[in-house]
Amino acid sequence: MFRQRPFRARQVKGAAVLGSVFLATACFPAVPVDPEGTLDTVRSGTLRAGVSPASDFVEIRDGEPQGAEAMLIEDFAEHAGAEIQWTIGGEEQLVKQLEAGQLDLVAGGITSKTPWSEKAGVTRPYRTATDAEGKEMKIVLLVPPGENAFLSEVEYFLDQTQEMP
């Protein structure tokens, strides 16, 4: 069946399409690219982090975020070479700000089953915890939707530093 000419021609065309795609991607040194450039703005100075109080993960003492996830965000900011600009609020408000491009990273004991995955980018789970009923839950962070370079950088950092279940 490979002997027939038209098939050959189409195969070649198909290979050319695929080849040019890979070539095109190879021309962009850092794939994936952020459509809105989140990773670049973070690296150039400021990480706008949003936290929502959640027991153990995020606590607010004297207006300052504390707890495991606040510390995690501080570590990431150091890794990225950025200063943190904190926003404290409810999840819905924080997610809206993520969508609007006003925040870069959101934490607050959010699990991998979060309904916000429709609106925001969700990292891979980086640790587990048990909920009130003793069921295991997987904890994630939220990033702006479609900012894939930034998401990849956060996940790279988590891969390097966390247990990653």
């Binding site: 069946m1 098939f7 198909g14 399409v17 695929l18 795609v21 890979f22 095109a24 991607t25 962009f28 794939v31 994936p32 690219v33 952020d34 459509p35 925001a120 980018g121 969700v122 990292t123 891979r124 990033v143 939707p145 479609g146 900012e147 894939n148 998401l151 990849s152 996940e155 790279y156 891969d159 990653m164």
Partner: protein, 320 residues
């Protein structure tokens, strides 16, 4: 009238039919494999998801073919005097409508993602301790699984033509075009990779349009066959070349002044009614049988031939 005509295919066609069934089984097995593989990496890309659903849909005509095959094998009987050949047509219609509906849904999803400016999020995977962008893996999988479907399609189309099986023909054409779906999904994911978020939904829209076209073609062709349209070749030759061949057979008989044929498709066989205007006032039983046997001998597809002696040809058999 011998029951065998068409119900039981001649040995060569029976062999082809068995091969077609084997190829369809292989196709289904292969598709099950690709569906599983893609499920592992599908992620948030609209194009990938559309291609994935298209993979699942591609099983429909294959299942319809295998199911219909069980029916066409049945011999005709008192309650089903035409036999069960039409089951191929019914299967063709069901598969066509399913493709249309799902194609429309997928097209709507892609357009609405574009309108809502949804930016697809694709993160990383941890591959042996390395953080790898999932888009690379998606593109690699789609490139890897593209070829075998095309090869299966080429093999099937070679069988579909001699079998005059439109369901199989539609299925092979879909399989032959399958690499375009994979290429489109790769373009979509690559678009996400270089920050062109809209390229993903646009690629998904292209794939959905392909599904819609397959659905439309199948639905139209199956419906017109079920409406007893004049028989056409699988590749669209109209009228079917067999009709002219059979008319010639009749014209060559000495006692025939003129003749017309009404031929409709019952799945892969042709239900044939011959209208003959004789030279003389009287026609013998032997002459009428001679005509019938001449027609049935033309091709295995000539099935259930009925001969009618008429004073003049009916209007509808004359060309406009």
């Amino acid at each position: 009238m011998k029951n065998a005509a068409g119900t039981h295919l001649p040995p060569e066609q029976r062999e082809l039919m068995a091969r077609a069934a084997r190829l369809e089984l292989i196709s289904i097995g292969y598709t099950a494999l690709t569906i599983t593989l893609v499920a592992l990496v599908v992620g948030n890309s609209q194009a990938m998801r559309t291609a994935w659903i298209e993979d699942m849909l591609s099983v429909l005509p294959q299942l319809a073919f295998l199911a219909s095959l069980q029916f066409t094998r049945k011999a005709r009987r008192y309650s089903h005097p035409y036999g069960y050949h039409r089951s191929m047509g019914a299967g063709h219609l069901v598969a066509g409508v399913a493709l249309l509906v799902v194609g429309a849904m997928l097209a709507y999803e892609s357009v609405s993602a574009l309108v809502k400016l949804e930016h697809p999020t694709i993160g990383t995977m941890n591959l042996f301790g390395h953080t790898v962008w999932q888009g690379w893996i998606m593109m690699a999988v789609m490139a890897l699984i593209a070829a075998p479907a095309v090869v299966l399609g080429r093999l099937k189309i070679k069988i579909a033509q001699p079998l005059h099986n439109k369901l199989l023909y539609a299925d092979s054409k879909m399989a032959k075009a399958d690499w375009q779906t994979n290429a489109a999904s790769i373009v979509g994911v690559a678009g996400i990779g270089i920050g062109l978020w809209w390229l993903d939904s646009t690629a998904a829209l292209v794939i959905a349009a392909g599904i819609l076209k397959d659905g439309w073609d199948s639905t139209r062709s199956a419906t017109s066959d079920l409406l007893d349209r004049r028989s056409k070749g699988v590749d669209g030759t109209d009228p079917h070349p067999l009709i002219a061949a059979m008319e010639e057979q009749l014209q060559s008989l000495e006692w025939v002044r003129t003749a017309g044929l009404r031929v409709r498709e019952l799945g892969q066989v042709q239900h044939t009614e011959a209208f003959i205007v004789p030279e003389a006032e009287t026609v013998t039983l032997a002459q009428s049988e001679e005509a019938r046997k001449a027609l049935e001998g033309t091709d295995w597809k000539a099935y259930d031939v009925v001969v009618t002696i008429v004073p003049e040809l009916p209007e509808f058999l004359k060309q406009d």
